[in-house]
Structure formats: C-alpha cells, structure tokens
C-alpha cells in the first residue's frame, strides 16, 4: 500500500491505474528492508534499496515524460507524495545522465579525488574486460 499523506486532496484521475504497480514495488521495498544482512558485504546491504528506489522513480518518469500517459496533476501528486524522487528525475533530464543510478554516485565530495563514481565512466573508456560494480548502489555502469 502506497503511503499517502493524510489531510491532502484526493488523488487525481488515473491514480487507481498506477497504484497496483506502485504497491508491488512498495512490497518489494519492504521485503528488501527486512532481508537479512548475513553473508553480505557491508557495502552490499543498501544496494537493493537503491535499486528499488530507482525503479519506482523510473516508473513515474517513464509514464509522464516518455510514454506521456499520465497527467501533469498526477505526476505532481506523485512527486509531492514522495513516490517519485524529484532530484533524481531532474538529473535524468540532463544529457549524459539519462540512466543515472543514484544521486550518491554523482556526489564528488564522497570520493578521494573529488570525482564521480566508477559507474559513471563510459564502457569504452574503461580498460578492456573490466567489470565494475560500484560500492554505493551496486551499479554496473549507468553511462551511455
């Protein structure tokens, strides 16, 4: 069940159409939150959370900007209800960031040499045969 803040206006038209999918993603998130951490590396524990968060925002983003099937009101409602991450969607609108995995991966202050994450490096610029899996969200490359 998608959390909807109380005391707000009733959801716009089309909400019932996207609600089942959002519920499904929400259930997956709950499952990931409760999953045991045994056998995982320290950095690995948060990866599924980042992945599902990305998936949820991506769903709304696709519906509004790509497929153009939902109304402006419904999109605004989703953003307001924090169903979609507006900062992440803002990055996706930029050139070169169309597939960005998470916001942590473009935070230069988190790295040793004030650069972005390894998953932001285009495949052809990486050395031959190198498999990357970034420590922030487990992304295997989200550029190009």
């Amino acid at each position: 069940m998608v959390k909807v803040r109380k005391g707000t206006k009733p959801p716009p038209d089309g909400w019932d159409l996207i609600e089942p999918t959002l519920d499904e993603i929400e259930a997956k998130m709950r499952e990931a939150e409760l999953a045991p951490h045994e056998g995982k590396r320290k950095v690995e524990t948060l990866w599924p959370i980042f992945k599902i968060h990305h998936q949820k925002s991506r769903y709304i983003y696709d519906l509004y900007y790509k497929r153009k099937t939902i109304s402006k009101e419904l999109y605004d409602y989703c953003v307001k209800q924090s169903v979609a991450d507006k900062n992440l969607i803002a990055q996706w609108k930029k050139q070169g960031y169309e597939n960005l995995c998470c916001l942590r991966c473009i935070q230069p202050r988190d790295t040793n040499f004030n650069k972005k994450c390894i998953c932001r490096v285009p495949k052809e610029k990486l050395e031959e045969g190198k498999v990357v899996e970034c420590v922030h969200c487990g992304c295997r490359g989200c550029s190009g």
């Binding site: 056998g39 040793n112 040499f113 050395e127 498999v131 990357v132 899996e133």
Partner: protein, 426 residues
C-alpha cells in the same frame, strides 16, 4: 609515544610530516602518472611506532592499492623503500645487502633506546647537505659480486598483484568476475616464505626471503681450478664472429698472454697465459660474466695436456706449439720442473730459485734476458733488420717478424706494445 593529536603537544615535533614518499620503482608501478592520497599522521610507523604521513596509491591496472608502512626516518636508516622494505638501490632484502656489503649496523630494539636512537639519527640526517645513506652503508664498498648476481635488473611488478581471495580459498567467493582479489590457490603453508614479518625484514634477521636468495647464490656454479698447475689455458665458449684481437684486448689485462686461438668451427677459443696466476685471475674475474661485443661468453679451464690423451697432440696444445717457434739455444730436453716452476715458460729456471718465485707472483714478468749463448740475436745486425721496414714507412711484414719472435713480449703486433712498435727488444 603515540599521543593523540589533540590531547598533548609534548614531543609533537617527532611526528613526521612528509611531502613525498621514499619508494622503489616496483612499488610505484609501471604507469608514470599516478595519483596518491596523503594523510598526515595517518598511522604509526610499523618499526618505530611514531605517527607519520601515509601515502596510498594504485600501482597500475589490476594491481592492489599500496601504502607506505614505515616512516621516512626508518626508511633512511636502512636505505629501504617505505613500502616493500627492500633496498632502494638493489631491490634486495636488508639481510642480503648487509651480508654482501658486510654491514653490521645495529639499531636498538628496546622502546626507549629506539626513541633516543631515531631522535639522534634524525638530527644527524637533517644536518647533512646532500642526502646519503645512513651509517656504514654510506662507506660500504661498491656493489659486490653477490649483489650484482642477485639484484633484479628490471622492476618486478608481480609483487603489486592483489592478495589471494580468502573466500575463494574456502570455496565460497560469490563475487566471481567482480572480485578484486586473486582467485588462485594459496602457497603451501609449510613453505618458510609464507611466514614473514615486517620487523625481521627491516632489521635483516631471520628473513626467509633473504635466506632463499643467499642459498641460491651459494648454489650458483663455481669454476673449479684444475689441480694440474701446468694448465694456463682458458676455454672460451660461444665465440661467434669474433676475432683473436678482441679476445686479446680483453684478456690482456689479467697478465701476459702466450697465445690466443680461435676455433670458428666449434665457435670457441683458447687463451693461454704465460703464468698460472694470471690465468686464475682471468678465470675468477670472467667466469659467468664475460661479455664482449654484447655477447655472453662462457669461460672454463682448458684441459691439461696429459688429459688430452696420447693419441697425437690434437686441439689447443698442438696449436699453441705451432704459434711460436721454440726459443733457440735452449737445451732440448728440459728436466721436469718443480711444482712451483711449472708455469715458467722462459727457461728462467737457470737463475736462482728466489728470483723465479718473485717473477711468478708479480703481475707482469720483467722482460726475460736472452740466453747468454745467443750473441748474434742481440747484435746490431738483427736489430737493424727489425727497424729497417719501419724507417721506410711500411709496417713490418708479419711473416718476417714471426720468424724471429719466440715469445709474446717480442711480438710487436701484440696489444700494449704499440708504443714500442718496431723496437721489440727495447
């Protein structure tokens, strides 16, 4: 000693701050462009336990990150890399280097003594204008044979490889391709090399790597000097496209050469010295490291004439005999010389025993006096015959020279005799 950065400023000046690490080429990796991370007072030195500035970098693709392990003072004390603790010049463990150069620097190991020692050493090193190795190492002899043989000529980047994945060893690594550690079988735990520690490496005691290297050096082939003292011939192998002169040019430095014979068919050569100690010196200096004209030559002792067999004097001995005609005027049957006189080729045995032993031990024998019954040889007539072609500007014909040359010092075409060209007897 390790006081926290905030609590107390006592002895803070002992904390080491550095701009650049002291590293060997191997540790820096193959890429000339590297980024390093620097952390002031990041950790305590693993030898002296004082906080120092650590550097961390990746030495090339598919290598593990490395960092400095000991402080710069400790590194300078032993002239070793801050990371791998191998000598900066030779890339060898401290124990091997110290044994080869006969260095016996002792660094105190007790806590207080160690602090006092490093403090003094630091002051001493800061007073020096140009940086130079500390202690006996600065005065040590130039690279010894041991170091030359054992030292690596090129950096060994395999040392920077990632460590072996411990999960893979247990058979439960789930990372597969992404695993940054090495998926290889570990070395045998009973192997002495798998039990090393940084302090032993630094102080140069009980270092298994050093012991392995030293034992390897001892197992290197040694050239055995033949028992037979008459052997003054060295066998030179792998002589390809090389003439007698090149060999002569090299071997002349060890003593007077009686003859050099090149056998192109078997790509070898024989160098016969007039004296045994010259041959011994040449064998010792050249064995396993003779390189002429970019080619590595093998050096061995020639076979003694008795071992050649009685079936005709074939091989080197026969050729040597034909090179110079026997000195005239000598008795044809020479009585068997005593052991110490066997290297004497000049018929000096007629002089006193003491004089002969003096000549055999000296580097170059004094020019031998002609036998007294050879009056015509030293007369002005034969002397004029020698100088005549020189006066007309023509080089002396070799055949005519050979006719009157009986031993090498008389040969004007010999190396080292160019100044006295044409006047072989003066």
């Amino acid at each position: 000693m390790s006081i926290s950065l905030l609590s107390n400023t006592y002895n803070r000046q002992n904390w080491e701050d550095a701009e650049f690490p002291i590293l060997c080429q191997t540790c820096l990796g193959d890429n000339p462009y590297i980024r390093m991370m620097k952390e002031r007072y990041g950790q305590e030195c693993k030898i002296c336990n004082r906080p120092f500035t650590i550097f961390r970098w990746c030495p090339g693709a598919r290598m593990r990150f490395k960092k400095t392990e000991i402080c710069q003072t400790c590194s300078k004390l032993k002239n070793v890399c801050q990371t791998c603790l191998l000598d900066l010049e030779f890339g060898l463990p401290v124990q091997v280097r110290d044994e080869a150069l006969e260095i016996t620097d002792t660094i105190p190991k007790g806590q207080v003594n160690k602090e006092y020692f490093t403090q003094n050493a630091e002051v001493q090193m800061s007073l020096e204008q140009t940086p130079q190795p500390y202690g006996q190492l600065a005065k040590a002899q130039p690279p010894s044979d041991v170091l030359m043989k054992l030292a690596r000529s090129a950096p060994y980047y395999k040392r920077n490889q990632p460590h072996i994945c411990s999960f893979y060893v247990k058979g439960e690594c789930k990372r597969g391709e992404e695993c940054p550690y090495r998926h290889e079988k570990p070395t045998d735990p009973d192997d002495p090399l798998s039990n090393q520690n940084i302090r032993d490496r630094f102080y140069g005691v009980n270092d298994p790597v050093a012991e392995k290297l030293l034992s390897r050096y001892k197992e290197l082939p040694q050239l055995e000097t033949p028992e037979d003292k008459t052997v003054t011939t060295l066998y030179i192998g792998n002589v390809v496209d090389m003439d007698e002169q090149q060999l002569r040019d090299h071997f002349y430095q060890y003593g007077e050469i009686r003859s050099v014979t090149v056998v192109p068919k078997q790509s070898c050569a024989f160098v016969q010295f007039t004296q045994r100690d010259a041959a011994e010196r040449a064998a010792k200096e050249c064995f396993n490291k003779l390189v002429i004209d970019g080619k590595r030559l093998t050096v061995k002792w020639g076979k003694p004439a008795s071992a050649q067999g009685t079936g005709g004097r074939s091989g080197d001995g026969g050729i040597f005999e034909t090179n110079y005609e026997p000195v005239p005027g000598l008795p044809t049957v020479v009585p068997m010389p005593t052991n110490e006189l066997k290297t004497d080729f000049f018929g000096l045995s007629s002089s006193s025993n003491a004089a002969v032993s003096a000549t055999t031990t000296s580097f170059l024998p004094p020019p031998p006096m002609p036998p007294p019954d050879l009056g015509d040889y030293t007369s002005s007539l034969s002397y004029g015959h020698m100088s005549m072609p020189n006066a007309s500007g023509m080089p002396p014909p070799l055949s005519s020279l050979r006719a009157s040359v009986h031993y090498p010092s008389q040969d004007p075409s010999r190396v080292g005799s160019t100044a006295a060209h044409g006047k072989p007897n003066e």
